[in-house]
């Protein structure tokens, strides 16, 4: 007898039994052990026909090809850089993936990216051993200038960006800040006024906390305007 133990949109924790019997199939974030389907993470149950999936409420960043990420230069080599993108391996950025400019042999690569610089890069390769290659050649990819770096849990990034970028655009507009959101949960901001910058940062953390709540867009709008209203 098949038994669905949890409801759609219910928040579950690792090991929690979601269904019994063979009728349901485990999908993203769930697994089958014998007669039971169990959760692998803290997440929200999503039923899709016979599939039981989880929308993770918190997650670890696993790089995928074409992810646009924000990374920090950790090491400058002879013809490459090592970049920390918040994963267990440092990512590699080779000279030819960094710039189309002609570089003299033996040139000091610190002239392009030096230690502690932040860059927006795209993941071009993820090997089976999880070695990562990046590129900064491409639209919007570059070294970041003055600003603040904050971190959020990577699974909330889609909510922070919003459908077609709607959420992040709203924040940018209402706070007059430039904002770049990396798929790895690293976010760069730069505003004209510190009060508005703080508002943008607080709004992002607000979304991170309430990502699974219905009507989030309106809540964020109120948050941005309510706070603004307080400022006299």
């Amino acid at each position: 007898m098949a038994d669905l133990i949890v409801k759609d949109k219910e928040v579950v924790v690792p090991g929690q039994v979601l269904a019994k019997g063979m009728e349901y199939l485990p999908a993203n974030g769930t697994y089958r052990e014998g007669n039971e389907i169990k959760a692998l993470q803290i997440g929200m149950v999503t039923l899709s026909g016979r599939l039981i999936k989880l929308i993770p409420l918190k997650g670890v960043y696993i790089p995928k090809v074409n992810d646009v990420v924000i990374g920090r230069i950790i090491d400058v080599g002879v013809n490459n850089w090592l970049v920390d993108i918040g994963f267990s391996n440092l990512a590699g950025l080779s000279l030819r993936d960094a710039t189309s400019q002609y570089i003299v042999r033996g040139a000091d690569l610190s002239n392009y990216y030096k230690f502690d610089d932040y860059i927006i890069a795209k993941v071009t390769k993820v090997t089976k051993d999880k070695l990562i290659d990046l590129t900064t050649k491409g639209r919007g990819l570059r070294k970041l200038d003055e600003g603040i770096i904050i971190k959020v849990t990577p699974v909330k990034v889609p909510r922070i960006i919003g459908k077609g970028g709607s959420m992040i655009s709203m924040i940018k507009e209402k706070t007059n800040c430039k904002i770049m959101v990396g798929q790895n949960g690293v976010i760069w901001l730069c505003g004209q006024e510190p009060e508005k910058e703080k508002l943008a940062i607080d709004a992002i953390y607000f979304i991170e906390k309430n990502a699974h709540v219905e009507g989030l867009t309106d809540m964020v709008k109120d948050f941005l305007e309510g706070k603004k209203g307080e400022k006299k």
Partner: protein, 229 residues
């Protein structure tokens, strides 16, 4: 019915409390309290592991650092620094946590788990594992199950659940910390200090499993509350 010094029944656990997200900088964190024993855990990772020779090219490694704060014990100050006991406790906790974590997604990397005992009234390694499994879940790792643990004991011919320091100090008692995967009842940590008849061990494991399901309910609630606020 036999009552204990603190008026508990033999099969009764002390009051438990759990909370996640207590250390903001960490990737995941949790506090677990049972009676007067308090453990706080922070998880960092997956992150780069150096030096390179420590890396495992096939999977990430888990490192556990269990430590008792200098003023956490009931007697003299505890000299800071790893002791043989703390290293042994770190290792058994590490083995227990590794059984539920899939680290193949982070080859060459490391997940660091720091366990600090703020206050101790026995059962510290069990409190540590309860908090550690919560902290790892709080960090968003994929885990087959949480881990729930409690220390049972045999005093004379009776089985006691969740022994205190006073009970642990009784001459001739057997101290049995045990940790379970709540959804399957599988055991991931089991130690014994003292004499046990086989039937007594079986009894201990049966009771322990039941008690740990109670602990699991509190752990579940703590994780879910972490997302409501």
């Amino acid at each position: 019915m036999k009552k204990r010094k603190d008026n508990r029944r033999l099969d009764e656990m002390r009051k438990i409390e759990a909370k996640v997200g207590v250390i903001k900088r960490a990737n995941g964190s949790a506090m677990f309290r049972i009676g007067d024993t308090i453990a706080v855990v922070a998880v960092y990772g997956p992150r780069s592991l150096h030096p390179k020779y420590l890396q495992d090219p096939e999977r990430g490694i888990l490192r556990v650092y269990y430590n008792m704060m200098a003023f956490s014990g009931s007697g003299e100050r505890i000299r800071p620094g790893p002791s043989r006991r703390s290293r042994e406790v770190s290792m058994v906790i590490e083995k227990a946590l590794t059984s539920v974590l899939d680290l193949k997604e982070f080859p060459g990397g490391v997940v660091d788990v720091f366990i600090e005992i703020i206050q101790s009234d026995s059962g510290t390694r069990c409190a540590g594992i309860c908090a550690a499994s919560l902290a790892i879940a709080d960090a968003g790792f994929k885990m087959k199950d949480l881990i729930s643990a409690v220390a049972l004991g045999r005093i004379d011919n009776d089985i006691y659940v969740d022994v205190t320091k006073d009970e642990e100090d009784i001459e001739g008692m057997a101290d049995v910390p045990v940790a379970y995967l709540p959804s399957s009842g599988k055991i991931v940590l089991l130690q014994c200090d003292g004499f046990l008849k086989k039937e007594q061990l079986k009894e201990i494991l049966k009771i322990g499993k039941k008690v740990c399901l109670e602990i699991y309910k509190v752990q579940q609630k703590a994780l879910k509350e972490g997302y409501k606020k």
